[in-house]
């Protein structure tokens, strides 16, 4: 186990670092949008929407991500063109977004439930529609209470993006394989991988903490 295993391969790791960053950013964006839609569905007055979102959440969050990624990346292409020509990067982002959306949905739903019912009643009595009530009154208040759990999901997503390495996407984990093979020093190479993941996740944690303080209610 030698430090040079990491220092000699900084460029290799850096390429992977950029890949992980892209996966995380796109995956987070996708899961936030889809998760918000799902959470809205789950608290909506329409039974079929509630049921649909519930089924989605229960299936997606209860299926291991590597399984999901393989099912998506190798299962859906069997449907033929144009899906067959999707890049594996696309599949990786899709898997990350779809999987974490289920968790974002549940975090947001708990936030929605924390907004007192009087708020929704007041909004409705002013004549706001369900959509307006959610987007203008409930969700803005829900988001600020769920900053810490959303931060957790973001950090989990960053680490879970390693699943992309198994389907031909250049990320930290994938690049580490090359370092391992080149140096035959797996322990140091993996320590390097851990370092670069921390380089992403530690600042994420700090940022989330800052955001949490800025959006806090004064009670």
């Amino acid at each position: 186990m030698q430090l040079s295993t990491i220092t000699d391969n900084l460029d290799v790791y850096l390429e992977g670092f950029v890949g992980t960053l892209e996966l995380t950013a796109l995956g987070a964006l996708g899961s936030l949008v889809l998760g918000t839609v799902l959470a809205t569905m789950r608290v909506s007055p329409v039974p079929s929407l509630r049921a649909g979102a519930t089924v989605y959440v229960e299936i997606l969050r209860n299926c291991p991500l590597p399984v999901l990624a393989v099912l998506l990346a190798f299962g859906l292409p069997k449907l033929g063109e144009p899906i067959r020509s999707f890049s594996f990067f696309t599949w990786a982002v899709l898997a990350l977004a779809l999987y974490h959306a289920a968790f974002v949905c549940e975090a947001l739903r708990s936030g929605v439930n924390s907004v007192s019912t009087g708020q929704g009643e007041a909004a409705r009595s002013l004549g706001l529609t369900f959509g307006q009530t959610m987007s203008l009154v409930v969700l803005p208040q829900a988001f600020r209470t769920v900053v810490p759990p959303l931060g957790n999901i973001l950090i989990a997503l960053t680490k879970n993006s390693a699943v992309a390495a198994t389907i031909d996407v250049t990320d930290i984990t994938n690049q580490t394989e090359f370092v391992i093979n080149d140096t035959v020093d797996p322990l140091a190479a993996l320590a390097g991988a851990a370092f670069f993941y921390l380089l992403l996740t530690l600042p994420t944690g700090l940022l989330v903490g800052k955001l949490e303080r800025r959006t806090a209610f004064s009670r």
């Binding site: 389907i167 391992i180 035959v184």
Partner: protein, 305 residues
């Protein structure tokens, strides 16, 4: 029981020296109340030394014998070489070779799954005594572990869809999508052998095979041995094409510097090359897919750096 075994040994020696000693030993045995098998020991004592080989007390071989089992790191997902069947049995050519080595030591082999990434740590940490896991001998690895063998030679080749006639050798790969496993030697080599091919890398060859079925990739490249394993699972869908374009000698990995153990395994290999056990093991496994089986490779007693 410890007392019993030591007196048995005395009895064997003394039988060869003089009758009186034997009688005394028998008396001593009777005194320690070791039971009925002492008499048979006196009769067949001289012969019992042939079966079990003796090793220097501090050698790895002696430690394995006293442990009663040879722990082996092998692949569990490599058809024909090392595969754990649904029944839980481990089978394949690598497994057969490990079992023969265990036989020669007079112990049983127990198998632990080794993946490419943990082979060196497994050996260095003593998690396993030997690694027999489609483990190519190369200079980088020689710096970290020692290799006995090679016990098998293969080379990089190509697998394509059975109905695909557009790829006949590595020279037809320009513009095609070729799949291999990340961090593997074949993945590196194909970059120079077929520079115009687009490379797709997964963590397992199973994914490569599935992607090829889906037409997400056009060819899979790695050691012919591994490709044959994949073909063995789907004979109607895949075929191996072209000549091999590398030499991959598979060796048995063991702790660096353990020369006596390495010598023992090398001698065992040479012994089973001669007595037909190597060929039988190969026929039983790889022979189910490949008609023309290779000859055993010469053992390479390289000097460790």
């Amino acid at each position: 029981m410890a007392a019993c075994t030591s007196t048995e040994r005395i009895s064997v020696i003394s039988r060869n020296r003089l009758r009186l000693g034997a009688t005394l030993a028998a008396l001593a045995l009777a005194a320690t109340a070791c039971g009925g098998d002492d008499d048979s020991d006196l009769d067949s004592g001289a012969g019992s030394g042939d079966k079990k080989p003796s090793f220097a007390a501090d050698s790895t071989m002696a430690k394995i014998v006293s442990k009663g089992t040879l722990t082996v790191g092998t692949k569990f997902d490599q058809p024909l070489y090392g595969e754990k069947a649904l029944s839980g049995d481990v089978e394949g050519f690598d497994v057969e070779i490990a079992r023969i080595i265990a036989d020669e030591l007079g112990v049983k082999a127990t198998f632990t799954e080794a993946v490419s990434k943990n082979r060196e740590p497994f050996i260095q940490n003593g998690t396993v005594d030997i690694v027999v896991a489609t483990y190519t001998i190369n200079d980088k690895r020689k710096k970290i572990v020692d290799f006995a063998g090679p016990y098998y030679k293969t080379g990089q080749s190509l697998m394509v869809r059975k109905d695909d006639d557009s790829i006949k050798s590595k020279d037809d790969l320009a513009g095609k999508k070729v799949c291999s496993v990340e961090g593997s030697t074949p993945a590196e080599r194909i970059k120079t052998e077929a520079p115009k091919a687009a490379l797709t890398l997964f963590d397992t060859y199973g994914k490569c095979a599935t992607a090829m079925e889906n037409k997400q990739v056009d060819a899979v490249t790695t050691d012919e041995a591994i490709l044959l394993g994949l073909v063995s699972k789907k004979k109607d869908a895949f075929k191996v094409v072209g000549e091999t374009f590398s030499e991959e000698p598979y060796g048995i990995g063991l702790k660096k510097g353990d020369q006596a153990f390495r010598d023992f395994i090398n001698e065992t290999l040479e012994k089973i090359y001669k007595d037909g056990r190597w060929e039988a093991a190969l026929k039983k496994t790889v022979g189910t897919v490949q008609d023309e089986l290779p000859d055993p490779p010469a053992v390479d007693r390289y000097t460790a750096a």
